[in-house]
């Protein structure tokens, strides 16, 4: 989780990712951010987030995103 928060705040230093749960709904993360995020995660966690996982529910908060990563790691 720490690792993920670090990636996120690199992207948007001004956002409090621990609290925010409307990253997509409020347009904080745009499509460019999401793509960078996915390639970072691929580097760091060695999981592949594919297009089908890109839905607001998975990206609205750091927590949800981390849950997704864990789910993918298990597979």
């Amino acid at each position: 989780m720490e690792q993920l928060l670090e990636i996120l705040s690199d992207l948007h230093p001004e956002v409090d990712f621990e609290e925010c749960d409307t990253l997509i709904d409020d347009g904080i993360l745009d499509s460019f951010d999401i793509v960078s995020l996915i390639s970072e995660i691929n580097e760091e966690f060695d999981v592949v987030i594919s297009a089908e996982h890109i839905i607001p529910e998975n990206f609205n908060s750091a927590e949800a995103l981390y849950a997704l990563i864990e789910r993918l790691e298990e597979e």
């Binding site: 347009g27 793509v35 691929n42 594919s50 297009a51 890109i54």
Partner: protein, 530 residues
Amino acid sequence: MLFTSYRFLAFILGLFLLYYVVPKKCQWPLLLVASYIFYAFAGWECLVFIGATTLTTYGAGLLIDQNHARQKNYLAEHKADLSKEEKKAYKEKQKNKRFALMVVCLVFNFGILAVLKYTNFVIANINGVLQMTGSENMLSFRNLLLPLGISFYTFQSMGYLIDIHRGKYSAQKNVFKFALFVSFFPQLIQGPISRYDDLEKGLFGQHAFDWQTVSFGLQRILWGFFKKLVIADRMLIGVNALIGDTDTYTGFYVFLGMLFYALQLYADFTGGIDITIGIAQVLGIPMQENFNRPYFSKGIKEYWRRWHISLGSWFTDYLFYPISVCKPMLKVSKFSRKVLGEKIGKRVPVYAASIAVWFVTGIWHGAAWNFVVWGLGNCFFIMLSQECEPLYEKFHARFAVKDKMWFKAFQIGRTFLLMCSLRMLDCYRDVPMTFRMFSSMFTDWNIGEAVTVGMWNLGLGVHDYVVLAAGTVILFTVSMVGRRGSVREMLAKKPAFVSIAVFGALFIATVLFGAYGMGYDASQFIYNQF
């Protein structure tokens, strides 16, 4: 059947009445019948194409869905007796099957679209090359029919198919229901491109007559007609005059044409969407919005999130992400980071995907190089603004103007003019002509002549400009008020006579000031010799 025809009005009025008279079970079948009748008006031949897309997508969706289910069952049944590797191999095998099914269906349907829409474009390009090589032989153009709404229903169906493949929701088992999803008539002319999970509940649900919903729907339809008939169709006279004569209308006229076209396009497109969503609302079917006051955007990226939203999000979900996060692209990303460094390398997937998306977006709008250049132009400015982001930040750190009204207005104006300039590509005959016209804006100083003489000779009289100005003011006001929520809801909270007065006036204004019908030319009514 155009939205702005008496026949269409009679068609929807008849449908509305029937819809709430028939048993509720029959509502969606009625819509299906109505949609096919609507479609048949465009030509019986077209039914073949929409039928083919419906059946192939329905079938492929069902097979993919069954495969999902089979996989789940199999794995549950053999939970104990399969090793992890075996499970993985099984999954992989099923996944490939599903993928193959999807690809076949995608290729078939996009193939139809491509052949019908782009054959002549390809031929024109081949001929161009042949000409350059000095060949005498030219390919002849094909006379292909372009079925009504093919771009829209193909995209909508393929979105569904990809979603099924992704396991986002399960497939529609009833072929007739699925046929309705593909052919739902209000969407066939200008979109929006709806998602199955957004539309499903409304489309197949049972709807009791609810006065509030129906009157809101009717109000929205009326608003759409006002925009289309009073503003767009009147403005069109001026737009056509300005872009039709590129020898005369240079310099300031180009600027004028840009503004006129911005107004015309906005009023026409959003008006059409208002009619579409309004019709759906009268039928009790909620539909996603397609516009969100795009001309108030402060940047180009924001603009594209607010203009033709359903198309943009389609491309994002089904083209941009699949390209930018696919495994090969991740490898490219890794590689480029190593070679080009962290900062630039990181952008490779995003930019590669963006260029692809904007190329396709361009060609989606029309089979011509104008549109390709237009799409890539948008892409260029989006990237440019992305690259300038650090500069902007520095600027904002130095000067505290970010929250000032005037600065926001500047941003809005800048974005608006940029979008207008790019849009010129879809007005003029070809790309060089567009650039010529664009540059004439800065070289031909004919503003005086244009304002005093020229703009009054475009087929628009003083009264037309008055109507257009008033219409624009109304449009702008409604847009501003609409930022605080639904204008119709605000009106509904007021005493009943307020709504009646407002919409009565809107109706009368549309009937009186709309640019429809054969027009009145007094000289026709002069009695001569009979």
